[in-house]
Subunit: 186 residues, 2 copies
């Protein structure tokens, strides 16, 4: 038999977590945080920047979780990549709308964890400004965890963060011309 330890921090500290890098697993990590939080009855809100044009399993997966969790997709796909038909200005408008939603969600006081999925990438593409992101980090409620995902995280965001992981691509199935698979890739 094994004795189960239950950790309990003496102090509740709202962390700033950055998940960046070019490998597979950044958004997936964000979704996993929601599962872990769910077990603790901790509420998680995920706002996806630049996503919304390709169906992803998490849109329905999150709805099937019996706990306080919400996922909002605000975008029209990855700005500037081949095949994306929407103009830069439209992507920028969507990202600015996502920031507004971010502030509303923070002000609501309902969420213990706020995940801004792909915001690093949105910042890198100048769909949002550095000052806008730094303001969110600096003014967030002290106990609220803030998770920022997406490749090419800005050095000043990394500087302010408590925990930063870089997900590096060692290899990926697309290099063998294997198509994206549901459940794993989307």
């Amino acid at each position: 038999m094994v004795e189960i330890t239950r950790l309990e921090p003496k102090e509740k500290t709202g962390l700033v977590v950055v998940i960046t890098g070019h490998g597979k697993g950044k958004t997936t990590t964000a979704l996993g945080i929601a599962v872990r939080a769910c077990g603790h009855n901790i509420g998680t809100c995920i706002i996806q920047f630049m996503k919304g044009d390709i169906y992803a399993g998490e849109w329905d997966g999150i709805k099937k979780m019996d706990c306080p969790v919400e996922l909002i997709s605000t975008g029209k796909g990855f700005c500037g990549i081949q095949g994306n038909p929407y103009p830069y200005e439209e992507h920028k408008e969507n990202a600015q709308d996502a920031l507004q939603i971010t502030h509303q969600k923070i002000e609501s006081g309902r969420w213990d964890i706020l995940i801004l999925d792909e915001i690093n990438n949105a910042l890198h593409l100048k769909l949002v400004d550095l000052d806008q992101v730094l303001e969110i980090i600096r003014t967030k409620p002290r106990e609220m965890h803030l998770v920022l995902t997406g490749r090419d995280a800005h050095p000043e965001v990394v500087e302010l963060a408590d925990t930063v992981s870089e997900v590096c691509e060692v290899k990926h199935a697309y290099q063998k011309e294997i198509e994206p698979q549901p459940g794993i890739d989307y």
Copy 2:
């Protein structure tokens, strides 16, 4: 308005995915795969090696998901780390039990995705043998996805995998002596 594309691979290919590295986010990625799969009604079974001595939110989080998903913790914590009181032989026995469960789950035919959480680490610590892991990879059903997480993935496992991400630690809150926080760290 945005038109939503629904991808559908011409061929269903069971991928071998390895999530390794010393950074935060490997088990979390595994949990996120379950959320994504859930939206597609794809069944996910997670077998955790070397875990079971410290309560983790995912144990209850997974139970709150309304889809075919299962999580089994088989271990007694990280073998060899400071404070873990169980002898090596006991950890090894647990890991061998976990392999037996793995084979049962594969033979059941019930699972589209099988996640072996921390198996890379268990192999590195010689709680399981390389041949045992390679056998699972080589004989798994063609359409079943197999995900192997844990630091220090074996080069032969990486060689056989389709997608490999290395999660590197840029920094971590414990370096600032912030205690582990529920929802984020466990």
